[in-house]
Amino acid sequence: MQWKHKDLLDVSQLSVDEVRHILATAAYFREINSRPVKKVPTLKGRSVVLFFAEPSTRTKTSFDMAGKRLSADTFALAKSGSSLVKGETLKDTALTLQAMNPDGIVIRHSSSGAAQFLAERLECSIINAGDGRHAHPTQALLDALTFSRRWNGDFAGKTVLILGDIAHSRVARSNVILLNLLGAKVRLCGPRTLMPPRLDTWPVEVFSDLGKACLGVDAVMCLRLQLERQQAGLLPELREYARTFGLGARHMRDAAPGCCILHPGPINRGVEIDSALADSAGSLILEQVENGVAVRMALLFLYLTRKSPDASQSGIPE
């Protein structure tokens, strides 16, 4: 497949076929990642800037590893170590990065729309690694790979519950779009104070009772509860939240057989999910991390070689 997109801003840009292609490519890289020597020369000579203007360890490491396994040169630029803290605007930072001629920039930023802001101004590929509350397409794609492996690629008739702080979650927004695109049904559950407005315009079913929300679901995706939500007056106390919206073993009994559990991490054990449940057989949390590297390898490959005629000769499935 000739890749036509310059940037990955959100999964809403992608067709079903494109998503399937990304997942197939990621499955191939997953296999490479299980070899003793995990490095391939696919992106040799290409450079990727990891521009993380918001603290992140796992996503940044995942992208860094993905780039290095493809032999790309990765350069990390963190907000604390960059001129951003000295009052430089995002535009100037972007233009400065552009002048260094990278092939791609992976951006994580606390403002919704920051990835698009870069994409509109720069020639190189922009991969959104999370912008504010807006989108986290690489997370949604790695979740889709995780589901796809579990369900043999068949999303039809499956129901996924996304649980927790939906309002502030880019993971939820991207997953709602992608799961619907792939044919799954999506439920949301959480306290009303952590729900976005106008959910009537979202393709989801909304529950305020976790017990009912879990009935017959094929997967539960727990979201991280940022502890500052309590201080912001959105929750009375964490103990009450855990009791009302924390996922426990009892909820799993009403779920469909083989129901799996996902979490984008990092986990607050005992808050959004019972600690033992996070370590149970149904938990795919660590597989998500593994799939994250493979998906990001696939994305870097597709976006950075989209203009190369020889991309098809690299042994990667068409």
């Binding site: 403002s111 919704s112 504010g132 509350r133 407005p197 315009t201």
Partner: protein, 453 residues
């Protein structure tokens, strides 16, 4: 009648007029919404800066010192804008009084009331006097500047500003615009104090606790984009507070930039109870929706935010039936580099003086806004409310009028805009209708006046 003996200084011949004529009031009556108005050709006669007559074209055979052929350009009285931000003193890189008045002159405005959120704040006589002096120096023939004094010192919402001193220096009204007074007790005292001075308080209605994020409407678009937003009830709740307070105190109140249906309903309710409340809305709330922010464009970030389609319809109906009395631009210039940032980092505001007439005329042309309401909202209503000079084309009115080329298409860009700041979501779009000539007290204020004079 001394008319015939009077020496005419200016005669504008053959302009297209959509309003009623005193001599022939059935001729150009404003049509109800749904149909574009029909016009007739008229002559305007001016002596010593005042209107002498507005008559059917060719009906009076009097020659003037300056004769102008309008060739069917639309005749409009100059507009009044009770809500602009001219940024001087303190932020002259965004706008100064000279450039703001230039945008006003080219946009068709005669009277401008400018808000107090300058640096320093207009909360003492020296700032007011400085503003007036800058206006006199830059545009001696007008457009005229009428400063609005701060309601509280430094707009901090803590202590009353010296309103008597500000009135004496020339402040036409008082407002805490941009920094709504959360403390209702303090706000009450401010309204009462202004009452003694016969000055109206203008309130920017926004519950600051319910509206932690400015510039984006809480709704379908904010939900999809994950943008921090504020609900329309943050405005409406404050409207409710204000009209109840105005009724209780028997005080006049003016509500700035009303943006949503809920506020309209409350204003309608208050007026039915006889409360002395007036309200303005802005061209952008009548023509644009929250969808403008769909691509994270900070040019569409404005406070209060652009709302939903239903709000636009409610505001148009309210303006037509008089529930909303007047239009104002809330002209809020910001430099390009301030707007070209992440959406949540950008300041709120739209630069409006250059585009207001064209965008609102489009509503008249398409029949969505009756001509009578358009005229009232831009001229008589604001002038009457705030005691500003008005031209209703009655003999003796100040000869402030515009010849408007309703067919000229122009693209909104850095070249065509006269404001220093080009921050409008209309940037790059084509509008129809432009000011061809502008006369204030019978004198052309634009270099581009027709050469017939």
């Amino acid at each position: 009648m001394p008319e015939k003996q009077k020496k005419l200084d200016l005669a504008v011949r053959g302009a297209l007029w959509f309003g009623p004529l005193k001599a022939d009031s059935k001729g150009g009556k404003a049509k109800k919404g749904g149909q574009p108005p029909k016009g007739q050709l008229v002559d305007v006669l001016v002596a010593r800066g005042k209107i002498v007559a507005l008559t059917p074209a060719g009906s009076l055979d009097l020659r003037a010192t300056h004769e102008v052929e309008a060739h069917g350009l639309v005749l409009l009285p100059s507009l009044t804008d009770v809500h602009v931000h001219f940024r001087e003193p303190g932020q002259e890189y965004k706008e100064d009084i000279a450039s703001g008045l230039s945008a006003a002159a080219h946009g068709g405005f005669a009277n401008l009331m400018c808000m107090a959120n300058t640096k320093p704040v207009n909360d003492n006589a020296s700032v007011t006097e400085f503003m007036l002096e800058q206006a006199r120096k830059s545009w001696p023939q007008g457009p005229r500047l009428f400063p609005i004094g701060a309601l509280t010192k430094g707009l901090k919402g803590e202590e009353l500003a010296p309103m008597a001193e500000l009135k004496a220096a020339g402040c036409q009204a008082f407002s805490n615009d941009g920094r709504p007074v959360a403390n209702t007790e303090l706000f009450r005292r401010a309204v009462e104090y202004a009452q003694d001075l016969s000055r109206i308080v203008i309130d920017h209605c926004e519950d600051p606790f319910l509206a932690p994020a400015a510039g984006m409407n809480e709704g379908v678009v904010s939900s999809r984009l994950g943008l921090p937003a504020q609900p329309d009830v943050a405005e409406a709740i404050q409207v409710a507070r204000d009209v109840l307070l105005a009724e209780y105190l028997h005080a006049p109140m003016h509500l700035a930039h009303i943006s949503c249906e809920k506020s309209v309903a409350l204003i309608r309710f208050a007026k039915a109870r006889g409360v002395d409340v007036t309200a303005e809305t802005c061209p952008h709330y009548l023509t644009l929706t929250e969808d403008e922010a769909g691509g994270f464009s900070a040019l569409a970030k404005v406070s209060p935010p652009l709302r939903a389609r239903e709000d636009v319809e409610a505001l148009l109906a309210a303006l037509a039936d008089g529930t909303i009395d007047m239009l104002a631009t809330d002209h809020a210039p910001h430099a390009a580099h301030e707007k070209e940032v992440e959406f949540d980092e950008a300041p709120c505001g739209i630069s409006g003086l250059d585009t207001a007439l064209a965008t609102t005329w489009e509503l008249v042309r398409s029949g969505r806004l009756p001509f009578g309401a358009f005229l009232r909202a831009w001229t008589t209503a604001p002038c009457k409310r705030f005691g500003l000079p008005v031209n209703a084309f009655n003999p003796g009115d100040s000869a402030d009028f515009v010849l408007f080329d309703q067919d000229e298409s122009w693209t909104v860009d850095a070249e065509t805009m006269h404001s220093k700041s080009k921050n409008t979501p209309l940037l790059g779009r084509t509008l129809r209708g432009r000011v061809a000539a502008h006369f204030l007290a019978g004198k052309s204020v634009l270099g581009t006046a027709p050469a017939g004079a």
